[in-house]
Every structure is written in C-alpha cells, then in structure tokens.
C-alpha cells in the first residue's frame, strides 16, 4: 500500500477525455512532479483530488483510505492541502488573516463561545497565531504581515498561498505550478523551500510544474502526461529524455 495512490482515474468533459485512465503512486516523504503540455489534464487531476470534480471512473487513495467520494471541505481535514495555479487568496484580508484562515481545521471552539470570546477562545487564538508566526518566519514574510493581499505583488502572493497551505499542517501538499509567474531568483527560492518542506517539515509534495530547472532540482520522481494519458514516469532526467515526452512538447515524427 502506497502513501498516496491514483488508480485508473478518468474524467470526460462532454466529448473530451481530459484524464484517461491515469495510474500513479507516491511514497511518504517524496516530491512527485507531474509535467506535461497545456491541456494534458494535470490541473484536472488536482481538482479531482480536491473533490471539486468527481471522476467518472477510478479511485484516489490516501494512506490506504479511499477519498474519491469525500466532500471538498473534508480533504483538508484528511491531511491534504493545496495551492492554485491562479492564486486564490482572500484579497480583502491581510496576510495574517489569510494564514489564520488556513488554521480552520484545527479550530475546536464552538460558535457560541466565539460570540462571547471567552478566555478559552483567546488562548486558542494565541495558539493559532504562534503556529502562523512559525510559517511567517519559515517563508520570511514578516515584512508583509499586516498588508492587505490586494496591495501585494505577485511573487509575494505566491509565497503567501504556499504559507496558507502550510498552516493547515498537511501530510500531503499539492502545489499547482508554484513557480509560474516568478522570476529566476524567486524560482530558486521556491526550490529551496520545497526542499525544506520535504526535509524539515516532513511533508510530502505532489507538484505540477513547467519550469524544468525547478523540476530537476527538487523532484524525486516525475510523471509526464499528454492528452490525459501517462506517457512516461521516472527520474527527471529519464522523463526529459523519453522520446514520447520530446514528441509531446516539440511535435515530430515519433
């Protein structure tokens, strides 16, 4: 039994087979990367893991448990957090509030007590705040703590979204193109953080990425998709040199 497993996953939108019988498994402590040209079905797989889409066929298993039918708001509680390709932050709130929202699944205080805000609520809030501050320190975001998201540049937002997912304290982190829109320096930083997330925080990472320098740097294993089907799996080097992958990206007589 693998840590995280996808078995024969398929989903069609009308006549388009977006994902067609995809299988893969990843182990705990791995950084597993999915690559592939636009429209290959990468984000669709993520959205099925998050239960935003229900697959037509197949199963998703996490630590041996079938989570295919789980509700979208249950996924975080099971231990899977994610980021989005186009950044889905809460624009009108501050960085601090955004990260505190990431603590939602760890909130145990009943609503009635929140209305009164008794000392127990305050203690719980301070505990959340300490966890959030750890993440702020980890990602070096202290400078922006009280800024509203709407006023922050893109690279910082990308980091905040990663931070918000870390506040969930997941076992598995889904990163949808963590380096898109970042400059080379920021991309390099992102690589260091993903390494730290794996080694220091012990969180396994499932990632979609186009930037091959980042993929080479952090991935333990790579899976290549094209038109919803798996075309190659292995180390970053193996996948990049695979003839089908070359053909998918460059076209050609393969």
């Amino acid at each position: 039994m693998s840590f995280f497993e996808i078995e024969n996953l398929s989903l069609s939108f009308g006549g388009v087979k977006a994902v067609d019988g995809v299988n893969f498994a990843m182990e705990k402590g791995e950084v597993f990367t999915i690559v592939g040209p636009n429209g290959a079905g990468k984000s669709t797989i993520f959205n099925m893991i998050s239960s935003f889409y229900a697959p037509d066929e197949g199963h998703i298993r996490f630590k041996g448990e079938d989570i295919t039918e789980a509700r979208a708001d249950a996924i975080a509680r099971i231990g899977i957090a994610r980021t989005f390709q186009n950044i889905e932050l809460f624009e009108h709130s501050t960085l601090l509030q955004n990260l505190l929202i990431g603590r939602e699944i760890h909130n145990r205080v009943p609503v009635l007590r929140q209305l009164i805000f008794d000392p127990g609520v305050r203690r719980a809030e301070l505990e959340h705040r300490r966890k959030v501050e750890d993440v702020i320190d980890f990602l070096e975001l202290a400078h922006y703590r009280d800024e509203r998201i709407a006023n922050l540049p893109y690279g910082v937002r990308k980091k905040i979204e990663l931070g918000r997912a870390l506040c969930v304290e997941p076992e598995l982190l889904l990163l949808d193109e963590p380096a898109s829109g970042l400059n080379p320096e920021e991309t390099e930083d992102m690589g260091f953080w993903i390494d730290d997330i794996k080694n220091d925080l012990g969180i396994s990472v499932l990632m979609i990425e186009h930037d091959m320098s980042l993929v080479n740097e952090v991935s333990d294993r790579v899976l290549a998709l094209n038109n919803g089907c798996v075309i190659a799996e292995g180390s970053a080097q193996e996948v990049q040199n695979h003839p089908d992958v070359v053909a998918a990206y460059l076209g050609g007589a393969a």
Binding site: A74, F90, S93, V111, E125, N151
Partner: protein
C-alpha cells in the same frame, strides 16, 4: 504618523489597538451617552431612529458585507422581529423576555431560509431573498389573528419592571445599550474563526473549501446571526413607530438597508453605523429642506427615493468603498502629510480577476 510597536499577539486581538482608539471611541461614547441632555425630544427621536437603523444595518452587514451574500429581504426579518415582539407583549410577556425571543425567532427563520438558499449564489440568492420578503409581507397581511392584517397593530410603550417607558430619552438609552452589545458581538465574530470563515467565503469559495471551511454551514450561521440582529432591530422599531402595518416593512425598507451599508462602506462595522447616520439624517434633512425649497421642487412626490437613488449611484461610481473607505483615505493623507502619494489606494488591478467584494 503613528508607528505601532507590537510586542504581544494580544495586541492584534484587542479592540483598542492603540491609545488613539481609547481616546476617540471614548469621546464618541461620552457623546452618545450625554446627547439626550443637550437635545430636545424631536432630535432624540431622530437619533433613536438612526441607532435602530444601525442595528438593522449591522445585521445585514454580517450577511452581505462579511459573507458576500446580497440580501434584498432583510425588511422581512425586521417585520418578523417587530410582530413577534408586539404579539408577545399583548400576551403579557415582559419586555426583556419578549425581545430576545423575537430576535431568536427571526434568527431561526433566517436559518431555515438559509439552508436551501446557501446552495444559491449571487443574483439568484438575491432574488430568493426578495421572494421571501414578499411572502412574509403576505403572511403579515393574512394572519389577522396575530398581526391585525391591514388594519395594523398598536404597540404599547415598553414596561420595565412595572415602570412604563414614556420618555424619548429613556427609550434612547435602551436602544443604545443594545446596539453597543450587538456591535461587541459582531466584533467578537470578526476576530474569531467564524468571522474569518465568512470573509473567506466572500472572497473565494473554492479556496475556502480547499482549506476545510464548510461553505454552506458558514453561510447558514451568517444568516442566523444576521437575521437575529435585524429581528432585534425590528422589535425595537415596533415601539419606536408605535403602530405596525404591513407596508412599513416593504421592499423599500429592504432597499434602504442595503443602500445604507453600501453608502457606509461594505465589509466594515463602521460602514453600517456611518450608513445609518447618513441615511437617517438625510430623511430629517430632506423634511426640513422641504420648507425651504420652492414648492415646485419641495412638494414633488418621490423626492426622497429619488435622492436616495442618486446618492447610491454616485457612491457606486465614485467611492465603492463608501463613506468609511473615503475616511480611511483621508486619514492616511493626514497621517502621511506631506508625503501622501496619489496612487496609494490604486489597486494592482492586473492581478485581480474581478472586484469581488459583492
């Protein structure tokens, strides 16, 4: 310019973030508590009206400003609060028992409405709330045994421990204290996980869900709190107008409440209060102005709704963040003078998909 040194996480939880808060809000509190001594009955009544509007607006703010669900039916919750309270009083229930029951009844109705409504979004939810308000108005008209139907229903002055509240200033204090308690309740919501979940649902449902926030559950709770506060305002309004009739709580009142929070500033407690002050006193100003204006203009029918409409349009075009947003900009200007940059509040729109403060 004030630079805040933060040395304790409690500083971000406290209501008074620095000594300026203590001073200005202390001054405001002193002002509203001393006001009846300096004012005559007419103005005390006008002030009471503003406070009741503020309470109703605060209720609507929870669901529309914080949770992003635009409701055009909040007059119905005021009606439910008002009629429940008035009916219970006729049954001999004491004032301070009847009022919470009225608020709770309104809240429970809000909850029942929200369970199906929380599956809808945007315009559809707004239409549903509008339909709900029309149904409530019809129920009020036809349930004559309780509401008096179209004949209306007289409401006696409140009785407190065998003492009848006749004077305007006495009632003013009751309303004021209840409003302050409600504001504290809403501020508590905002600084706890529930309030943050509401803001999350407003700004991005999809990412709220991925963080484990139960979106429908959050919306239902928002409706419950919102309807209870607005119902409480309704109960207080019943004594204020002294006579209830179905048309009091029509669509115009719903629109007026929505207008209030938009003009005041969506998404802030301040917005509900500023909006109530502005709209409440606008009514008074218009009625005074009517005597000054030439009769051809002053006696035009529909002058009031017309002016409200113009104000709403102007705010949506020129200051979508309302009076409170404008004030924040002005304050920043003062704090940074002479270094204010014209573009401080210009958004980096290129990254925004849409302006999502609905």
């Amino acid at each position: 310019m004030r630079v805040l040194f933060k040395t304790d996480y409690n500083q971000d939880i406290k209501f008074a973030k620095h000594s300026g808060y203590v001073f200005w809000y202390g001054l405001l509190l002193a002002g509203v508590f001393l006001a009846p001594m300096a004012l005559d009955t007419y103005w005390i009544n006008e002030l009471t009206r503003v406070l009741i509007y503020a309470l109703a607006g605060l209720g609507l703010m929870v669901v529309t400003g914080f949770t992003g669900q635009v409701s055009l039916g909040h007059a119905a919750f005021m009606a439910i609060g008002a009629y429940t309270h008035a009916f219970l009083l006729t049954q001999g229930v004491p004032f301070f028992v009847s009022l919470p029951i009225a608020a709770l009844t309104s809240g429970v109705v809000g909850l029942l409405i929200a369970i199906p409504a929380s599956r809808m979004t945007g315009l559809y939810l707004t239409i549903a709330s509008l339909a709900f308000a029309i149904v409530v108005e019809d129920v009020v008209i036809h349930w004559e045994g309780v509401t008096g139907g179209n004949r209306g229903m007289a409401v006696d002055p409140p009785m407190l421990f065998g003492y009848e509240i006749f004077e305007a200033w006495e009632y003013y204090y009751i309303v004021l204290v209840l409003l302050i308690m409600s504001i504290i309740l809403v501020l508590n919501v905002l600084r706890s996980p529930l309030g943050r979940s509401m803001l999350a649902v407003r700004d991005s449902e999809i990412s709220a869900e991925s963080l484990g926030i139960r979106v429908a559950h959050t919306k239902v709770l928002a409706f419950l709190i919102s309807a209870a506060l607005t119902g409480l305002a309704g109960g207080l309004f019943a004594h204020f107008i002294q006579f209830l009739s179905p048309e009091t709580f029509g669509i115009l009142l719903s629109i007026q409440l929505l207008l209030m929070i938009v003009v005041g500033g969506l998404g802030t407690v301040h917005g509900a209060i500023y909006g109530a002050v502005l709209i409440g006193f606008l009514e008074a100003t218009i009625s005074i102005m009517k005597d000054w204006l030439p009769p051809a203009i002053g006696n035009q029918p529909g002058l009031e709704p017309g002016l409200f409409g113009v104000i709403l349009v102007l705010f949506i075009i020129f200051e979508p963040e309302g009076v409170y947003g404008r004030w924040l900009k002005f304050r920043t200007f003062l704090e940074n003078f002479p270094f204010y940059r014209r573009n401080t509040f210009k958004r980096q729109r290129s990254y925004l998909k849409t302006e999502r403060m609905r």
